[in-house]
């Protein structure tokens, strides 16, 4: 039996280690309760001053007990010990402290804490200037909490998209009854709670509900809910974000209670819920009291002490001093008394506490010291005593002699702060309510209502009746029930409470600036004096104070500290809390695993891979692939021992000299039909299609309305009212959306219909002098003669027994046929062509060779040779612009703007290096004078550059200012290695300038 375990509390033993030391807990423990049971006082060190810290709370509010769980790839940093369910073999360690958490050398720095007030970074480390990076190195080393894994996450995560009528966030008393009321109407209900068990505060309650012990009442209600088929219950599930249009996110921890790494499916699941109505029943956090050295291990929240005693059977100490401003916390004295351990005294800041429970405590012989404050805790790594003194009625001054009370546990309560976080995510501004000394949720911005403690209703009866009303109301507004609660009122036993005192900073005998640190935000060591200092320095806005002091920026996000901090600020500014305002809580309510937010969309599923129907064949041939948009395109097909350049040389020469074959299936294909199709595409393209006859193709360029080239490709007239538009591989989706935009929003009178058929067709392009011969072997029903089937014609026919469309278009400048067949026949047609081409040494080529061949021809690639700032004229393609078209096509007007008609624009040219073997790097900048000093006057840049095997020298395309008038000039490309490569500006057409070869 561990030293602090209450004898009557038993369970199966669970072995675990903390900081390498073996301990035993029991089933049902959290790591925190198990550590407390074993008398572990120091579990962490604070962020800034490395002060020893113990467990302070029992849930999401815990600021101190931050641990590293597990090791290796499965480790998780920064978990709160209060939220870790104990499992056999659990390993955890403190995140700070060197050499150990019990003896931390950094703690010495804490002794100089006075040198590190808020903002001290901003005031120093500036001189000498060059040392800042060294200072920063050490600042960073001292910061941070746990450590990230250094290996890939072994776990997987998934997501569930859900719709429901009523989502209930929180399964405490209000949430449970809300769910029950909604469930009975037939509404689809999801109820989620961050804890392993439903019940919330009732799990640790000694109260009787409906005549039975609270935990038993919870169990029966949970059983009742489980019987509803329309209710989904999500334990270990945190509603962490509330977004627009009633979209909420829930993180379900499926396996974390079983081990660090899941052995049974996805570790965590993200529920993406669109709820018609929401009931927020997220409870409240007890507020600590801010007194000197309130951070020493052994100072805890009163409700946490009760929770450990009642729910976990752990008494975290021996001699308790309870310090409260309210009746509610007196329960802790009763609970502690029940363990048989000593209650030294109850310190109540109020002059005349007179509630029923006060009387009950006094009746047990416990000393109640009224009108006093616990002004300072003393001790090193554990509380040894409390200093208690009378204080004035306003709670601002010590008015009498200090009394010392020996103790090892201080439970404190400054009242309760509703957990308004989710309501605040919606944009609702929390409203200060003097009556309950707390912020209530602001006016609702979504289809939600709060119920119970998160609405500022702290008595159990109130929580239950609000929950019932909220559940019925939410059901009604989502279309179920009549809006009134149906279950009878639940009888509860509770004390009637008297008003609490608003006390946010307990006075000390010394002024705040000189008193021992009175901590407000434990994790980041924000103290009351720090907040007052920030005000003294002129910061007035609560956001400034937060940012200057780091208040609320910890991993607990100020669940404990924010309200006290704000109140201390208000006081320092001589304002009310309402005037001072609040800060806006943002998601996540509690920290949420990146992996769960990413879900399945990582690794190979990060983005879909698109394959052509011939992909498998390419893989079998050992092709190297290039990512083009989502597509995997064969880049080149290396043979045994070949370098990329050797493969590309071989592939290119094959096309120029005999025959090559390219998988061009990825080109976008849009089928366009309708009586106005020719008019429509003539408005979109720069050139005209009004007179294009069936059987003919035409190359077109489309511009954005700003006149800049957007996409290009061939468009074929399939019939009078029927066109097939080819787009670039990467541009297909954008082009389709573009066409639909103009048709639907500007020219709905034009009857045109668009269908993406990219994936429907496989395109095998045979290119080279032997292209006709190979086609003749596989296609007998098309007259392939140049007279009958000329360049830029297309024909219907049968290829290898498959109905096909064959296009005589060419991106290589050679005689080419693009054979299009339904994708199901893709591999068949491909392999048939390969077999038929064997006698011509048919050579599959990839995108790299395609790029070389088209560059030899001076054909541009949109997106490579253009960059969104290039017009057709810049590309030397004025011939594609129909200047006399009746309709002012898209982008036409922009071509006349003063900057677009300016001389000296960057224009497409060819570059030929003076050293023929030297290949310019793509992206090299072009200058006219290589000798000039930096900054150099840059005149353009190299867009495409290759070694051309068929020409025997390197070739490059570039855009150069005024380039069209500079043919023959020598320019320079200064490289990073100091060389400057000289090149002559030449025509961008290097090969077959008259274009004869594609016409044969």
């Amino acid at each position: 039996m561990s030293q602090n375990r209450v004898a009557s509390h038993t369970g199966a033993a669970i072995d675990f280690t903390f900081n390498g030391k073996a301990y035993q807990g029991i089933a049902g423990d959290t790591l925190a309760s198990a550590l407390l049971a074993n008398g572990v006082d120091v579990v962490g060190r604070s962020f800034k001053y490395a002060r020893p810290r113990g467990i302070f709370g029992h849930g999401a509010e815990e600021p101190n007990a931050i641990v590293q769980l597990g090791s290796g790839a499965g480790t998780v940093p920064n978990l709160k010990a209060t939220q870790i369910e104990l499992y056999q073999g659990l390993q955890a360690s403190s995140v700070n402290g060197w050499p150990s958490v019990n003896f931390d050398l950094m703690g010495l720095i804490g002794a100089f804490g006075r040198l590190m007030p808020p903002g001290f970074y901003y005031k120093t480390f500036m001189y000498p200037k060059k040392l800042w990076m060294t200072y920063e190195h050490f600042i960073r080393k001292a910061a941070g909490l746990g450590a990230t894994p250094v290996e890939a996450d072994p776990d997987s995560y998934d997501k569930l998209n859900q719709h429901c009528d009523v989502l209930v966030a929180g399964a405490g008393p209000a949430g449970l009854v809300a769910a029950r009321e909604a469930a009975r109407t037939g509404a689809r209900v999801i109820i989620a709670d961050e804890q392993s068990q439903f019940g919330g505060s009732l799990l640790a309650s000694k109260q009787q509900v409906d005549g039975i012990a609270a935990p038993l009442w919870v169990a029966s209600l949970v059983a009742e809910l489980m019987a509803y088929s329309n209710v989904q219950m999500l334990p270990r599930s945190t509603v962490f974000g509330y977004y627009d249009h009633n979209f909420l996110t829930i993180l379900e921890r499926r396996t974390d209670h079983l081990g660090a790494v899941s052995t049974c499916g996805t570790r965590q699941r993200l529920h993406r819920v669109r709820a018609a109505q929401v009931v927020l029943a997220t409870g409240a956090f007890e507020r600590p009291l801010v007194f000197a050295h309130n951070d020493i291990p052994g100072v805890m929240l009163a409700s946490s002490v009760s929770t450990y005693v009642n729910r976990y059977g752990v008494a975290p100490g021996n001699k308790l001093v309870l310090f409260t401003t309210n009746d509610n916390a007196y329960q802790t004295a009763l609970d502690w008394q029940g363990t048989g351990r000593e209650v030294v005294a109850v310190i109540d800041s109020r002059r005349n506490p007179c509630g029923e429970i006060v009387a009950a405590v006094a009746a047990m012989g416990i000393e109640v010291i009224a009108g006093h404050g616990l002004i300072e805790a003393q001790g090193g790594k554990r509380v040894k005593r409390a200093l208690v003194a009378p204080i004035n009625e306003a709670g601002t001054q010590v008015t009498g002699a200090v009394r010392r009370l020996d103790c090892d546990l201080i439970a404190c309560s400054g009242g309760w702060s509703p957990a308004v976080h989710l309501s605040s995510h919606t944009g609702a501004k929390p409203q200060w309510d003097e009556n309950i000394v707390a912020f209530r949720p602001g006016n609702s911005k979504q289809q939600e209502r709060s119920a119970g403690a998160c609405r500022g209703t702290f008595d159990l009866q109130g929580c239950l009746s609000e929950g019932a009303s909220a559940g019925a109301d939410a059901a009604l507004l989502s279309g179920y029930g009549d809006g009134s609660p149906q279950f009878p009122q639940i009888a509860v036993e509770e004390y009637i409470e008297e008003p609490q005192q608003a006390l946010f900073l307990v006075p000390h005998t010394k002024p705040t600036s000189r008193a021992p640190s009175q901590f407000v935000d434990f994790q980041l060591d924000v103290s009351a004096s720090g907040i007052e200092l920030a005000v003294r320095e002129g910061f007035e806005s609560v956001e400034h104070i937060k940012r200057y002091t780091a208040l609320g920026f910890g991993t607990d996000q100020g669940k404990l500290g924010n309200i006290n901090g704000m109140a201390i600020l208000a006081n320092a500014l001589d304002q009310t809390i309402a005037e001072t305002g609040t800060t806006i809580f943002r998601p996540a309510y509690t920290p949420t695993t990146f992996g769960a937010i990413a879900g399945r969309d990582v690794n190979q599923l990060f983005d879909p891979e698109r394959y052509t129907a011939v992909h498998r064949w390419h893989v079998e041939q050992g092709a190297k692939f290039e990512d083009v948009g989502q597509w995997k395109r064969p880049w080149y097909f290396p043979q045994q021992g070949e370098t990329m350049q050797q493969a590309v040389d071989r592939e290119g020469l094959a096309v120029r000299n005999s025959l090559g074959i390219l998988d061009a299936s990825t080109l976008g294909k849009i089928d366009i039909q309708g009586p106005d199709v020719a008019e429509f595409i003539t408005r979109i393209y720069t050139n005209s299609y009004l007179k294009l006859a069936p059987g003919k193709c035409r190359y077109g360029v489309m511009l954005k309305e700003d006149g800049m080239i957007f996409d290009d490709g061939v468009c074929a007239c399939l019939g009078d009212n029927h066109y097939l538009m080819f787009t670039t591989t990467g541009g297909a989706a954008d082009v389709l959306a573009w066409l639909e935009l103009w048709q639907q929003t500007e020219w709905p009178e034009l009857q045109v219909y668009f269908t993406s058929v990219t994936d429907h067709w496989t395109t095998a392009t045979v290119s080279g002098p032997n292209a006709r011969r190979v086609m003749a072997k596989v296609c007998t029903d098309i007259d392939l003669s140049n007279e009958a089937f000329a360049f830029m014609d297309w024909r219907d026919g049968t290829v290898a027994g498959v109905k096909a469309r064959v296009f005589r278009i060419s991106f290589t400048g050679e005689l080419s046929y693009e054979v299009n067949v339904p994708a199901h026949y893709g591999r068949h047609i491909w392999e048939t062509l390969i077999a038929a081409g064997e006698e011509f040494n048919i050579t599959p080529y990839g995108t790299e060779t395609m790029h070389v061949l088209r560059a030899e021809k001076g054909f541009i690639i949109v997106g490579q040779d253009t960059d969104g700032s290039m017009t057709p004229a810049d590309m030397n393609m004025d011939w594609v612009v129909g200047k006399n078209k009746a309709f002012s096509f898209i982008g036409k007007r922009s071509l006349q703007r003063s900057d677009t008609v300016r001389a000296n624009r960057k224009q497409l040219v060819g570059l030929k290096t003076l050293n023929a073997k030297e290949v310019l790097p793509e992206g090299a900048q072009v200058v006219f004078d290589a000798e000039q000093k930096i900054p150099m006057a840059m005149q353009g840049h190299v867009t495409s550059s290759y070694f051309s095997a068929s020409l025997g020298h390197s070739i490059a395309l570039a855009v150069v200012k005024g380039g069209h008038d500079r043919l023959g000039q020598v320019v320079y490309c200064p490289l990073a290695d100091g060389r400057s490569i000289a090149a002559e500006i030449v025509s961008s057409v290097f090969y077959d300038p008259k274009g004869e070869r594609q016409h044969v």
Binding site: L145, R536, S541, G595, A598, L605, D867, D899
Partner: protein
């Protein structure tokens, strides 16, 4: 202004920090100023500071509807770099970077400018062409940068995944060693303190509700606390620029979009540089406090709500997990959004307007933080001389009529 130093810290510690000087005054607005700067973010405060410091104009008010530095200054991911593609942008951002390099000393306020370098990753061949082009241009403009291999990337950021088997393998990157991060709030506070010390009135919690004009010239602003006269009004209100423009009967080529960001819980140092990826679409750095600071692109729709849609956050985190598979088990602590004023060419507008004495500095989109000092510097010059500073000349609003856009979408790409 009392100087900050280690010595002043020690001295004040001995007196329990009871004697620190106020960081700035809380003045009552005068009836009339030479210049009113509307917007007390980093850019506005820098503008006021340089107007006072360099141009000797001290009869200035900065009018802020909320608190100083409370807009995008407080919401950005603090990345600083100058490796922009086009000469005009690169020179403007590099002026800024040079000012950053001495800013802590200039302001006597440690803005924690950390020159830990910036990697812009390339994941496909076109990315690499663009990176080569940009780095070459930067080099010839005198801006540091080099193209680095995946192996070098892994040395700089060991937890990054350079496997060839990832969905979009990292093929290389540009590396700008002078880039880095700074403490965003400190920048606003430092400029505010400096401007205040030079006599600038910083007026918070006062909203400009109208721009009063007479005979085509500005005469002052209407505010939630009454009229304040001014010869010149300089608007530096980021996401709310369109609203200010409308007050003067103008329209701007900007649209206000949500830009989201998020931080993890603080962790021990695990990333010593800034990593950005256009293709995988996310960027990440680690703050001195230990948080992983993460962002991506803007939401698609116009929005002034300082929040965006959750799917954008999901995509961002997917990108980060893709680049850093080890971060999958780290947890998101907090997410938020700002309102960024995006221009069609992803470059700012620093401009006079058709109203005499009315100036706009806006359109910084997702990349404004890094430009804070340079933006303030050239805008102050523009306002003081009623003529564009040479480095601002290309950024006038007229470029949207002539077509002389400076398309930095490639460099601005993923935001920042």
């Amino acid at each position: 202004m009392k100087k900050y130093s280690a010595f002043s810290l020690l001295k004040n510690a001995l007196s329990y920090h009871e004697n620190w000087q106020k960081v700035w005054r809380s003045p009552t607005p005068k009836q009339d100023y030479n210049v009113i700067v509307v917007g007390g973010g980093g850019h506005g405060l820098a503008t006021a500071y340089y107007l006072a410091k360099i141009h000797g104009i001290t009869n200035i008010a900065v009018i802020e509807k909320g608190y100083l530095g409370g807009g995008n200054t407080a919401r950005n991911t603090t990345i600083i770099r100058s490796n922009y593609l086009w000469d005009e942008a690169a020179q403007l951002y590099d002026l800024s970077l040079k000012l950053w390099e001495g800013l802590s000393q200039e302001l006597n306020y440690n803005v924690m400018f950390s020159q830990r370098g910036v990697l812009n990753l390339g994941h496909n061949l076109q990315d690499m062409r663009d990176i080569e082009r940009r780095v070459n241009a930067n080099r010839l403009n005198g801006i540091d940068g080099e193209v680095v291999t995946p192996q070098r990337i892994a040395e700089i950021a060991p937890l990054i995944n350079i496997s060839r088997n990832s969905r979009y393998p990292i093929l290389g990157a540009s590396w700008q060693p002078r880039g880095g991060t700074a403490r965003h709030d400190a920048v606003a506070w430092g400029y505010a303190r400096g401007a205040d010390a030079l006599g600038v009135d910083l007026i918070q919690q006062t909203e400009v509700t109208g721009i009063r004009r007479k005979d085509g010239a500005v005469v002052g602003v209407e505010t939630s606390n009454g009229f304040i006269g001014a010869r010149k009004v300089a608007c530096v209100t980021a996401g709310n620029s369109g609203v200010l423009a409308a007050m003067a009967g103008l329209r701007l080529p900007v649209e206000s979009r949500p830009l989201q960001a998020l931080v993890s819980e603080p962790v021990k140092p695990c990333l010593d540089t800034v990593v950005m990826s256009n293709a995988v679409h996310g960027y990440i750095s680690q703050s001195d406090k230990g948080d992983l600071v993460i962002g991506a692109g803007v939401d698609s729709y116009n929005g002034y709500g300082q929040r965006g849609s959750f799917n954008v956050v999901e995509h961002t985190i997917q990108a980060i997990c893709e680049l850093f598979p080890a971060f999958s088990r780290v947890r998101m602590n907090r997410q938020w959004g700002g309102v960024v004023d995006t221009c069609p060419d992803a470059c700012p507008i620093i401009s006079k307007t058709s109203v005499q004495g009315l100036y706009f500095n806006c359109g910084w989109g997702t990349g404004g933080f890094k430009a804070t000092p340079g933006s303030g510097y050239v805008f102050a010059d523009t306002v003081a001389n009623d003529h564009p500073h040479p480095l601002a000349a290309a950024f006038t609003v007229e470029r949207f009529d002539t077509g002389a856009l400076i398309d930095e979408h490639g460099a601005a790409g993923v935001a920042h």
